[in-house]
């Protein structure tokens, strides 16, 4: 976590090591978000993993992905919520039949 100091003109200076780590260049856009916890600064644009995924698609797959993306974006927020809430897992005792018994040799990750 870095501490930034606001100067008299409202400007802040990003430490050089952060600029280098994040690959920032003059003219790059950052997003300032006001949240309940304070101000957050986000680097815009797509990250390396997202770009790697996109670059792995063929032209035909990109066209199909765009069509699928249009369908997804056309959904209402309620419809998207429903998609991402499918198959909610019960915590009730009568649902415990699918729990896996661990052999004694297994140990926690830590």
């Amino acid at each position: 976590m870095e501490r930034l100091i606001v100067d008299a003109e409202g400007k802040v200076i990003i430490p050089p090591e952060v600029i280098q780590k994040r690959g920032l260049r003059p003219g790059d856009e950052l997003t300032l978000v006001e949240t309940a916890e304070g101000l957050l600064v986000y680097q815009g644009g797509a990250d390396s993993e997202t770009m790697a995924w996109w670059n792995s698609l063929s032209e035909e797959e990109r066209r199909l992905a765009e069509a699928e993306a249009r369908r997804y974006e056309a959904l209402s927020e309620e419809e998207r919520e429903a998609l991402w809430n499918e198959g909610v897992e019960s915590i009730e005792a009568d649902a415990e039949g699918d729990e896996v018994e661990l052999p004694a040799r297994e140990r926690p990750a830590r």
């Binding site: 990250d47 997804y72 974006e73 896996v100 926690p108």
Partner: protein, 176 residues
């Protein structure tokens, strides 16, 4: 930096935002700040060679989404199976004020089983839900106490289980 886990469980909300960042890219649009945050967390954890886990529910949801978007996400994660007593612990967490959905995610953090590596539990649960993270930290002493009381009554290997840390996505980007 004092904590950098080798394995994490990604909350469904994080996975959803990563998915939606890709949807936006396919449309030629930039991600929203929260989608960018989740996608950057994914990239950061991948760069750190962190094993990414999802719950069975998240796996099922991704399996029903477009393979063009979901296949890569599924290939880079493993779904944890519900180990015995997972729901019992989730019900204890429910009694401590967690929603059923939050309770089961935290319970996966202790009782989720990776069948491939035979690992049980994860070091951290990464969430974009700041209320879940805050509630977990506020109630942590009580959670620890109830967890210890529960597992001490169980047989091996359950007595050796531990609680995960619950970490917000912003913390991954700033602290890891």
């Amino acid at each position: 930096m004092s904590f950098q886990p080798g394995n994490v469980l990604l909350d469904k909300g994080v996975v959803r935002r990563v998915y939606e960042a890709r949807v936006r890219l396919a449309l030629g649009q930039p991600p929203t700040p929260f989608q960018a945050e989740a996608a950057n967390v994914w990239a950061r954890l991948r760069a750190l060679n962190t094993q990414l886990y999802i719950t069975e529910q998240t796996e099922h949801i991704l399996q029903r989404r477009s393979p063009l978007f979901a296949t890569a996400l599924l290939a880079q994660t493993r779904a944890l199976k519900k180990g015995r007593y997972l729901r019992r612990w989730a019900r204890r967490l429910r009694e401590m004020g967690f929603s059923p959905e939050d309770a089961i995610v935290i319970a996966y953090g202790s009782f989720g089983l990776d069948l491939q590596s035979q690992r049980i539990g994860v070091e951290a649960v990464v969430t974009n839900d700041l209320k879940l993270r805050a509630h977990f930290h506020v109630r942590l002493p009580t959670i620890r106490e109830h967890f210890a009381q529960m597992i001490v009554q169980l047989s091996e290997p359950y007595q050796g289980l531990t609680l995960p840390r619950v970490v917000a996505t912003a913390e991954v980007l700033t602290d890891w």
